[in-house]
Symmetry: C2
């Protein structure tokens, strides 16, 4: 994580909590479809196999109050969670680097249910420019600068080769991007106010392989 973001730290929701919230949302949507009106924290905890007090604490960040002996209103909670997470808005995003991973993410439509909509992709490679994946065009990288002037896109998904990641990230910041979803293995050096969310497959592989090793003694 970034070294310093002390400004509104006190009001900031802990990352572990944030990471758990979508899980609650998916579960609540499921039970709501079955017609459940109210659900208690202990019930949620049992289903999701986590501590019931943790559930209460996590859900408290949405501002929704539960009633003793009744629990939470599922409709209210779902709505509040979507609102809190921003999943019910359309947050437009650029994607840079239309290689294997990039086109994969373009084809993977599910971001839209997560409130993120890739509206354009960019690449420097002639072979990739003009392609059309999942309803998204791959444009020439230089067009990024023109387009970002007209559109107010705050999110970028970075799927370039590692060696150009830093340069591209700086370009993106200059284009007004405020948050970068970084799929490269680079640790980007950007101004403090830019949100960088690193999602390195290598970290996941590391944990998986090591734990597998551990379990085999």
């Amino acid at each position: 994580m970034s070294l310093k973001r002390k400004n509104n730290k006190s009001t900031q929701v802990p990352e572990p909590t944030l990471r758990r919230l979508p899980g609650y949302l998916f579960f609540l949507e499921k039970v709501r479809e079955k017609g459940v009106i109210n659900i208690s924290a202990p019930t949620i905890g049992k289903e999701l196999k986590c501590d019931p007090t943790q559930v209460v604490k996590d859900l408290a960040v949405t501002g929704i109050k539960g009633k003793p002996r009744v629990g939470y209103n599922t409709y209210e909670l779902c709505h509040a969670l979507e609102e809190f997470l921003g999943f019910n808005r359309v947050n437009e995003a650029f994607l840079i680097g239309a290689g294997n991973l990039g086109t994969a993410l373009m084809a993977y439509q599910e971001h839209q249910t997560l409130g993120i909509k890739i509206i354009a992709a960019f690449d420097v490679n002639e072979d990739k420019i003009g392609k059309h994946v999942g309803g998204i065009h791959v444009l020439e990288y230089n067009k990024l600068f023109h387009l970002s002037n007209r559109l107010d896109v705050k999110i970028a998904i970075l799927t370039t080769p590692n060696n150009v990641a830093q340069d591209v990230a700086e370009d993106l910041v200059n284009c007004g991007v405020k948050a970068i979803w970084n799929f490269t293995h680079c640790n980007l050096d950007l101004p403090d106010n830019i949100i960088v969310e690193d999602i390195s497959m290598s970290s996941f592989a590391a944990v998986l392989l090591r734990r597998l090793n551990d379990s085999e003694e």
Copy 2:
């Protein structure tokens, strides 16, 4: 994380450390290519923008010792990290669910540098069976049971729709799989000895969108 894995907990490396190790490895490989023989923890810390004592603690898990006033031997460290993480081995994996995300991961060859090699993909959809992506065949799901008898595959990548994820995961466990890389939004209910590594895009989206919201006050 799973509720209980107290068996060798004392010897177990903390997850945050594990997640940082690939970053060190990539950086060290880079400087090693430039001919750097020795590197100190403070130097690594400066480059990777993290605490130098943290670097020392993290690298200590590999068993490699640094020398005062000299630092660590880059060759030794790279080798030890690869060995420790399992990145220098070929860990074979099955992939289940050849949809958008599944085929994406098949095309995304980079797993191989992370020690994970998808050797076969499976799906129930007729249209997908027989496909060939990134050198990997999509086989009929039922063939999984035969194939797992002959091959000793311990890792599975789960990219099915959410509603079948639990059933498929149970099949996988019955086929001898010990670790599941779970890309679905389900929290799988499996025996304690099975390693489950959840990588839900929704959690990442949640953190990104929320932090973006926070920064906009």
